[in-house]
């Protein structure tokens, strides 16, 4: 008997949002048993969330651009016909091919796509097995290629259930009021119900037979029942949506729950048929909207029903080396194949996109790797390359895909449908690259599509082009595509509020961005809009309003991690550190690998004095996303210093020289920054300056500037070379400092009237006029500096008043020395002060 077996069960579209309430009621006892004795978690899907692409990713550990399955249908080898995707569409090896090469036996039942069956060591019941047609007079025989090996055709052929075999005992648990259905009506729900149920029973029959009768090491069984029932009947699931027919709601409102219950019953039987040494995985490829985001009327776009697919599916695993009753985080479809290969102690291809989910195992070993399984020669149980003569067609599957709305009914003029399918597949490929954040490749494909002759509607490409440009932070191009989009005529009603507001946000036109979202919230209020408004209010430094919007978002969708993270930040800004910590924790509970939430938790705990845990939270943020959370390094240093302070009972954090620190002299223009630079130069510090701006009457001793500072908002990469040096950066540019460095900021303050007066003298304007708008803008900028410093753990700041520096120099120099943490030559520094320079004083300061 084989040991260490793996049974992988696919439940297309299964979603925790439906499962948990049923488990609470004890209506999914088999899955509940697996959770109790195993691990569970969310399964993150990929874009576009089209099932054949996703299940091929599960089987290969690779993204669709590599495995080649790009949608539901494709043009066949003859180039003259459309057909559902087949095994030939997959260009890379699946788990069962690799296991075959290594001498393992695999059984495969109903995998999408798996027709024609591959000649592997084991049994393949392909996804054509269950397609029996709907006419009792035309029962289809099992076609060649449906089952491998051929001798299993005889054993399995009578396990197919036909739709006309359904009895009232089968459908009443799903539709208790089925007696009221007019069966003569063309669109009665019993027809699709019968087809879906019997197809899944056929596959289940084959699976239970193989579980009982064959020896295997790996077995994969796929069910589409939940997905197909959801597409047909989710609109009738409680709570009743406005616009849903009451009679139909009452008829079908238990359909979805019944589908899950029946799926669980089938799981129960399979669990009975396995040994204790078998590892079982139950997983879905995506979730399914079941709340107020359900779409009642699908737009006429390619694969529209997939718009109802939710980002997170489900994952449960149970077995001898699997942890017990533990939640697992960060799972993705690409991780399944590497994890199964690791389970069999086989190496993972470095060209696979996923990782081994080591977290699920009790005892772990180090994963082994090879460059690629694709380069390994030998027998992998694969099909011969398809030839023109063998071009396959599959009318039943095509019909069902059309019925489900995934595929448009082919046009009478087949060339039109072929042209459209080619465009859709290419568009899907662009979306795959978009999902992988390979924006340049995605953009290239989308531009090719835009330039293709004969395209009737460019809007789907324009929307993705806008998203690509946002990803590339190329907001000018994004705006160009937005304007082009607005000129396009299309039958589809798109919601582009988020894209539009994101473009304005990227261009730092926050008010415009807010206007777009405010409009959206009035037309169709939803949680995501409120969340985005909240985020904008955080940027606009209005945490109170931000908090109100986050609260509204949480009220509608309490299980969204990012909503709680936003709320945590708003609470933090308002000084509610306990609330901030609590919302951060809720956020982490929902999505463990959420670096921004860990960082916010660190900040909140630091304020609450829980330094040890603050340090752990910062470390987690840094570990999860090292590139984005440079500032976590600084925060950790600060906490460590504070922890030392507690031991030594003295303040060490100030006055300590920090390795590679950058000394920044800042302030509003004409507040004494050049003077301070001169003083620090004389003090013996290493200055980062160039001589591009020459001394003049306004600054007779020079400006001490460095030209790249002027474009720091576009390029701050030069900051690495500023380490251990002193550089002048005016106040409005401070926000562009890279948080990965440590900064000591000497911020020059001067009476604002004096600053403006001095600026006006310098630019030849009347110094006696005070521009109120400019004055208010400066006040706001100074407030922002405080907020910025509070947010950046790598920044220490000391404020030096220009007038006080002239009058009480020694004391001010001590403050500067204490900040920088180095010995400074005070005598030399004082020589830089020329009281004659203090010219643009106001009457107020004179007095």
């Amino acid at each position: 008997m084989q040991k260490n077996k793996v049974l992988l069960i696919g439940w297309d579209a299964a979603d925790w949002k439906i499962i948990w309430p049923l488990i609470v009621k004890g209506q999914m006892p088999s899955l509940q048993k697996m959770i109790k004795n195993g691990v569970y978690g969310n399964m993150s899907t990929m874009n576009p969330p089209f099932s054949p692409m996703l299940w091929s990713t599960v089987a290969t550990g690779k993204t669709p651009d590599k495995h080649g399955v790009m949608g539901f249908i494709e043009v066949d080898a003859s180039g003259q016909k459309l057909r559902p995707v087949t095994t030939h569409s997959r260009k890379t090896k699946a788990i069962w091919n690799i296991l075959h090469n290594k001498g393992y036996k695999s059984n495969l039942v109903g995998w999408w796509p798996s027709f024609p069956a591959e000649p592997i060591n084991g049994v393949v019941v392909s996804d054509k097995f269950q397609r029996v047609g709907t006419d009792p007079k035309k029962v289809k025989p099992i076609q060649p290629g449906t089952i491998h090996p051929e001798d299993f055709v005889e054993k399995l052929k009578d396990l197919r259930m036909f739709p006309w075999e359904i009895t009232k005992e089968h459908f009443l648990p799903f539709i208790p009021q089925a007696g009221k259905i007019d069966q003569k009506s063309k669109n009665n729900g019993l027809v699709p119900f019968s087809n879906i149920l019997t197809q899944n029973v056929s596959l289940h029959n084959a699976a239970t037979n193989l579980l009982r009768e064959t020896q295997w090491d790996f077995m994969a069984v796929y069910y589409d029942m939940i997905d197909h029932f959801c597409h047909g009947f989710m609109k009738f699931h409680p709570p009743k949506l406005k616009g849903v027919n009451q009679e139909k709601y009452e008829m079908y409102n238990d359909m979805i729950n019944s589908a899950y219950r029946f799926q669980d019953m089938m799981l129960g039987r399979k669990l009975e048929l396995i040994d204790d040494d078998t590892t079982v995985i139950v997983m879905s490829d995506h979730g399914f909207e079941s709340g107020n985001r359900r779409i009642l009327k699908m737009p006429k776009v390619a694969a529209a029903p997939a718009l109802d697919h939710r980002q997170f599916g489900m994952f449960v695993a149970m077995g001898p080396n699997i942890k017990k009753n533990e939640k697992i985080f960060g799972l993705g479809l690409i991780d399944v194949a590497p994890t199964i290969l690791h389970h069999f102690n086989l190496p993972i291809g470095r060209d696979m996109d996923g990782k081994v989910i080591l977290d699920i195992f009790e005892k772990t070993s180090k994963p082994k790797y090879i460059d690629s399984w694709e380069n390994v020669e030998g027998d992998f149980g694969q099909l011969e390359k398809e030839t023109l003569n063998q071009a396959l067609s599959d009318d039943e599957t095509m019909e069902q895909l059309v019925e489900l709305g995934y595929v448009e009914k082919p046009d009478d003029d087949i060339s039109k449908s072929i042209f459209k399918t080619k465009l859709d597949l290419k568009h899907n490929k662009a979306r795959v690259y978009l999902g992988k954040k390979d924006y340049h490749t995605a953009k290239g494909i989308l531009i090719e599509l835009m330039e293709t002759d004969g395209v009737e509607d460019f809007t789907p490409y324009l929307i993705d082009l806008m998203t690509v440009c946002i990803g590339l932070k190329d907001y000018d191009d994004a705006l160009k595509y937005l304007n082009e989009f607005k000129q396009c005529k299309t039958d589809i009603r798109y919601n582009i509020y988020f894209v539009e507001s994101e473009i304005y946000k990227g261009k730092k036109q926050f008010k415009l961005s807010l206007d777009v979202l405010q409009r959206a919230s009035k037309i169709k209020p939803n949680a995501e809009t409120y969340f985005r408004i909240g985020e904008l209010y955080l940027i606009l430094l209005d945490p109170e309003k931000a908090r109100d919007y986050f609260e509204q978002a949480i009220n509608i969708e309490p299980d969204k991690a990012k909503f709680h993270r936003g709320m945590a930040e708003a609470c933090y800004e308002l000084g509610g550190f306990e609330d901030a910590a609590e919302h951060s924790l809720i956020s982490i509970e929902l999505v463990k690998y959420f670096p921004a939430a860990h960082y916010m938790l660190g900040k909140s705990l630091e304020k609450l004095g829980d330094l040890e845990n603050a340090k752990i939270a910062y470390q987690t943020a840094k570990k999860l996303r090292p590139k984005e959370f440079h500032r976590a390094d600084r925060a950790i240093e600060n906490v460590e210093e504070k922890l030392l302070d507690i031991v030594s009972l003295r303040d060490k954090s100030k006055g300590k020289y920090k390795k590679n620190q950058i000394t920044v002299v800042s302030g509003l223009p004409r507040s004494g920054t050049s003077l301070m630079m001169q003083m620090l130069d004389r003090a013996g510090l290493n200055m980062l300056v160039d001589d591009k701006r020459k001394a003049d009457n306004s600054n007779p001793k020079g400006y001490y500037e460095y030209e790249p500072v002027m474009s720091i908002h576009k390029d701050n990469s030069w900051l690495g070379g500023a380490q251990n040096k002193t550089v002048k950066i005016v106040a409005p540019l401070l926000g562009n400092l890279d948080p990965k460095y440590r900064y000591k900021v000497i911020f020059m303050k001067r009476n604002l009237h004096e600053v403006i007066r001095s600026q006006r003298v310098m630019t030849g304007k009347n110094p006696e006029v005070l521009p109120v708008k400019l004055y208010n803008a400066y006040v706001k900028q100074l407030e922002n500096i405080k907020i910025w410093q509070e947010k950046e753990p790598g920044v220490e700041i000391v404020y030096i008043d220009y007038l006080t520096l002239l009058k009480d120099t020694d004391h001010q120099l001590e403050k500067i020395k204490s900040l920088i943490g180095l010995d400074l030559d005070f005598d030399e520094m004082k020589k830089a002060i020329d009281p004659k320079l203090y010219r643009n004083r106001t009457k107020a300061t004179d007095s």
């Binding site: 089968h170 289940h204 029946f262 129960g268 399979k270 048929l273």
Partner: protein, 48 residues
């Protein structure tokens, strides 16, 4: 498969079957088909 498992006797399965039977898989399904054939034969014989 699990050797400790006791298979069920389906001889008393009603011809209308049940979801439980469908969930049980191939064994119950094959048994049900047989019962349906016997029942049909009986019906036909009765008609004669």
């Amino acid at each position: 498969m699990n050797k400790k498992l006791k298979e069920i006797d389906f001889s008393n399965m009603p011809v209308s079957s049940s979801l439980g039977h469908l969930a049980y898989g191939d064994l119950a399904f094959v048994a049900w088909r047989k019962i349906k054939i016997v029942k049909n034969l009986t019906k036909q014989n009765a008609k004669k």
